[in-house]
């Protein structure tokens, strides 16, 4: 596909998707090389992200999406009041942190790390699609495994894992022996599996 046409197509794809699409997915759909997609998106960004438009293209969770500019927020909430309702309690943020660094985890593992029952937080996070069930653990009772979902990256504005400190860097005096890494494929995966 020729660059001008590719740009137009990507614009349409990003608009209609409404959430992040990964580079590879765009490349497959448009029959182009990932490098060409990246170039086209960079050009689109130059045009859109100058501040003259109400929307801009941003990198989220290993993909790209069209977001509205923060200065337009008040009017968006006037039009769609429910969009401004999402709040995050400290305990919900805690549960999210555990899932983010330890995924995939079971509810029992979350409770173990927090030292308190986390059922309510897990339920609200699931309802808000910030986390999702994916598979079951091969253990007695086959407990369900929980992972971060695509919405999470958008809600927290996380481009990829380099945006979050590694488990090792989290608290200064960590001499902890085991250092689980963030699941590197998670961001990529979620951007791909959503249409």
């Amino acid at each position: 596909m020729e660059t001008a046409e590719l740009k137009k197509t990507i614009e349409a794809l990003l608009f209609i998707s409404g959430k992040a699409i990964s580079k590879d997915r765009i490349a497959t759909v448009t029959d182009s090389r990932p490098v060409a997609v990246e170039d086209a998106i960079n050009e689109l960004k130059l045009e859109w992200n100058s501040g003259r438009h109400g929307v801009f293209i941003e990198e989220i969770g290993g993909g790209w999406q069209i977001s509205t500019r923060p200065e337009c927020a008040d009017y968006i909430i006037k039009l769609y009041p429910w969009k401004g309702v999402l709040r995050l309690s400290p305990s919900a943020a805690e549960v999210l942190s555990i899932i983010l660094y330890k995924q995939p985890v079971t509810k029992a593992q979350i409770n173990e790390i927090r030292g308190v029952d986390s059922q309510a937080s897990v339920a609200t996070l699931l309802k808000n699609s910030l986390i999702k069930y994916s598979g079951r653990k091969k253990a007695p009772g086959n407990p369900r495994l929980i992972r971060i979902s695509e919405n999470f990256y958008h809600i927290f504005g996380i481009r990829d894992i380099s945006d979050i400190p590694s488990w090792k860097d989290l608290a200064e005096d960590s001499r902890s022996a085991e250092e689980p890494e963030i699941d590197e494929t998670a961001a990529e995966e979620t951007a791909q599996e959503d249409e």
Binding site: V85, L88, E94, L96, S97, N151, F156
Partner: protein, 264 residues
């Protein structure tokens, strides 16, 4: 747990007031105590921490959200503390050292999660004003439910007004165990032997037969009748226990209404 001002623990010479937002759980409290004492997390002074921990939960027992978890931690601390007092060679002492190390690991992990929580919360605040078309449908994450009981009642009221006014009360025959017992006692008093099948035929509905069974069991339990069956699936004979039936108390027997269902 709500905001806590000066948890009532003497902190060395400086008895200053400390304000902490929330203790999310026992680990949170423990970590705060360790930091407050400038203690090395890798070498927790168990006996000092244990007494401060206990002092705290004693003074705040009514503020604590999940007492079971706080108490479980208290018992772990006490166990470690007492085992460490035993001679070094003992198995208990070694086990306690392992438990202490495990506790340090848990606290370090908890510290990281807390740090990450703060990062997420601040990122969340920064992002509050950015939207996309496929915005997740917002459900309040802070409250358990966005609807109050009154709002729910309002909604229900509106639905009813909208035309779903054809609510009908479902009624059925009412059979009370007291009535059946009374009836049985009256018939038994004449010394007559009753057949279960006969009784059931009077009103062959599931409800009546079920209540009948309960009534007979109740009377047997009170030793007013005896029941006899020759073989499985044959008829059941109900006979009065004569000494009891001749007594006065029979007519007074049915009492306690519905409790018969539970106690019978």
């Amino acid at each position: 747990m709500k905001k806590v001002v000066n948890p009532g623990i003497p902190v060395g010479a400086k008895d200053y007031f400390v304000k902490i937002d929330v203790f999310e759980g026992p680990l949170d409290l423990l970590l705060w105590l360790i930091q407050n004492n400038n203690m090395d997390i890798y070498d927790i002074e168990i006996s000092k921490i244990t007494s401060q921990y206990l002092a705290f939960i004693n003074t705040h027992e009514f503020d604590i959200d999940s007492p079971a978890e706080f108490l479980a931690m208290a018992s772990l601390l006490i166990r470690i503390k007492s085992s460490l007092m035993l001679p070094k060679e003992t198995e208990e002492h070694q086990l306690a050292l392992d438990e202490k190390r495990a506790l340090t690991e848990k606290l370090l992990e908890w510290k990281k999660i807390k740090a990450s929580r703060e990062i997420l919360l601040s990122k969340f605040r920064e992002r509050k004003n950015l939207f996309r078309r496929d915005e997740p449908a917002a459900i309040e994450l802070e409250k358990k439910s966005a609807l109050s009981v009154f709002e729910l009642a309002d909604i229900f009221g509106r639905i009813i007004k909208k035309g779903f006014h054809k609510f009908e009360e479902i009624t059925g025959p009412e059979i009370y165990i007291e009535d059946v017992i009374k009836e049985l006692l009256e018939r038994i008093r004449s010394g007559e032997e009753l057949k279960f099948s006969q009784l059931a035929f009077q009103n062959p509905t599931k409800l009546y037969v079920a209540v009948l069974v309960l009534a007979v069991l109740e009377l047997t339990n009170k030793k007013l009748v005896t029941i006899k069956q020759a073989r499985p699936f044959t008829d059941i004979y109900i006979k009065p226990v004569l000494s009891a039936v001749s007594g006065k108390n029979i007519t007074e027997q049915p009492s306690g209404g519905e409790s018969f269902y539970g106690n019978g």
